[in-house]
């Protein structure tokens, strides 16, 4: 076998002559073109994700919402949640940016792949974090709506009049959990597909190198 590889090596070196040869004029325009690599895609997708979640936050914190929140007695809780939210978002953006900058093609293959996967991981963590915040907010909102708005109170009173107050609350909780579960599952699936397709071979190659070290 070794002989065959040596034979191949000799032939390989002989083949240099038959390789294509591009001229200066052919190469020059190439450096002006845009990359179509997966790193670029991950970068774009991440930016969209940051904008999307920031948008969701802004929509839910307009002045009318503030008044409604006060009426529902959950203003302080929601504001505290918002502060935490923004601090963590800035942390994630900083993290994403530094991770992205660390991607270097002059690094070893293993480190390069690790760096790319790390960027992706930061973004995924960011999305999960947003989902958690979103779920918590939804719970706080339902609490406010049911206890402090006229419509909510009506529902609660009707339920207790029927003497089914325990069943009513159980139903509310189960429904919330089910809806949250379904939403999380759909989003998880979406990510699995989105990044799965983009990163399939990269992850495979990375694991192959990592397995060697064990």
């Amino acid at each position: 076998m070794l002989d065959e590889l040596e034979l191949l090596k000799k032939d390989w070196q002989k083949r240099e002559a038959s390789l294509p040869k591009l001229s200066y004029e052919e190469i020059y325009p190439m450096i002006k073109k845009k990359s179509s690599s997966i790193v670029k895609w991950i970068f774009y997708i991440s930016i969209i994700e940051f904008i999307f979640w920031a948008g969701v936050n802004i929509i839910f914190s307009g002045p009318e919402t503030m008044e409604e929140l006060k009426a529902m007695h959950i203003y302080k809780v929601v504001m505290a949640l918002n502060v935490i939210n923004y601090v963590i978002i800035f942390y994630f953006i900083y993290k994403f940016y530094t991770n992205y900058r660390k991607i270097s093609f002059t690094d070893s293959s293993k480190n390069l792949m690790k760096a790319i996967l790390k960027v992706k991981r930061t973004v995924t963590q960011y999305v999960w974090f947003n989902l958690i915040i979103f779920t918590i907010s939804a719970i706080i909102y339902s609490y406010g709506v049911l206890l402090y708005t006229p419509e909510g109170q009506e529902i609660v009173t009707t339920a207790s009049q029927d003497g089914k107050s325990v069943a009513f609350w159980a139903l509310i909780i189960i429904t919330s959990i089910a809806i949250t579960g379904i939403v999380l599952f759909v989003i998880w699936l979406f990510y699995k597909l989105l990044y799965g397709i983009l990163l399939k071979s990269l992850r495979k190659n990375y694991n192959e190198l990592k397995r060697l070290e064990v």
Partner: protein, 164 residues
């Protein structure tokens, strides 16, 4: 200033383009993909060029960026390796140089190498380029011992492909 840098880069790439073409020929199966990968590698080389300091040889540095691009970034078309593609694209084995059996054997070898995974291919490529194990290990980011272990596994794999 920028023009000067561009000029220097393109000239160096022009002189060393063989390395990139060889990577492309191993990782792609048709002319279009070959050109696509060449384009992508050129972009990555150019992007990394300002950080390239003269302490390493330009060609050594190119091996790394070119292989890394092929391994991590390039999205291959799902097309299976077709032997006629392989012949028609780049390599025309000169029949005058070889007798029939050697030519046949080489063709089988090349086909077998093309069937390997990305990492294994990189290993074989560096081996064919006469790199030593410490260079191979450094390029891929594994230890020298592991590079040797991996290479011997690849040899076994090639043997199985050749003699099923």
């Amino acid at each position: 200033m920028k023009k000067e840098l561009e000029h220097r880069f393109v000239t160096e790439l022009e002189d060393n383009q063989n390395i990139v073409h060889k990577v492309c020929s191993l990782y792609t199966n048709d002319k279009d993909s070959h050109n696509d990968l060449f384009q992508e590698i050129t972009i990555q080389l150019w992007k990394a060029y300002p950080k390239f300091r003269g302490d390493a040889k330009f060609s050594t540095w190119m091996y790394r960026v070119a292989l890394n691009t092929a391994i991590t970034l390039y999205r291959k078309s799902k097309k299976r390796v077709k032997t006629q593609d392989f012949d028609s694209v780049l390599y025309k084995i000169k029949t005058t140089d070889y007798d029939d059996t050697e030519e046949r054997q080489l063709k089988l070898m090349y086909d077998a190498v093309k069937q390997l995974g990305d990492i294994d291919k990189a290993l074989v490529f560096l081996y064919l380029e006469d790199k030593n194990y410490s260079e191979i290990a450094e390029t891929l980011g594994i230890s020298e011992v592991n590079a040797r272990v991996k290479m011997s596994r690849v040899k076994t794999k090639l043997r199985t492909i050749l003699n099923p």
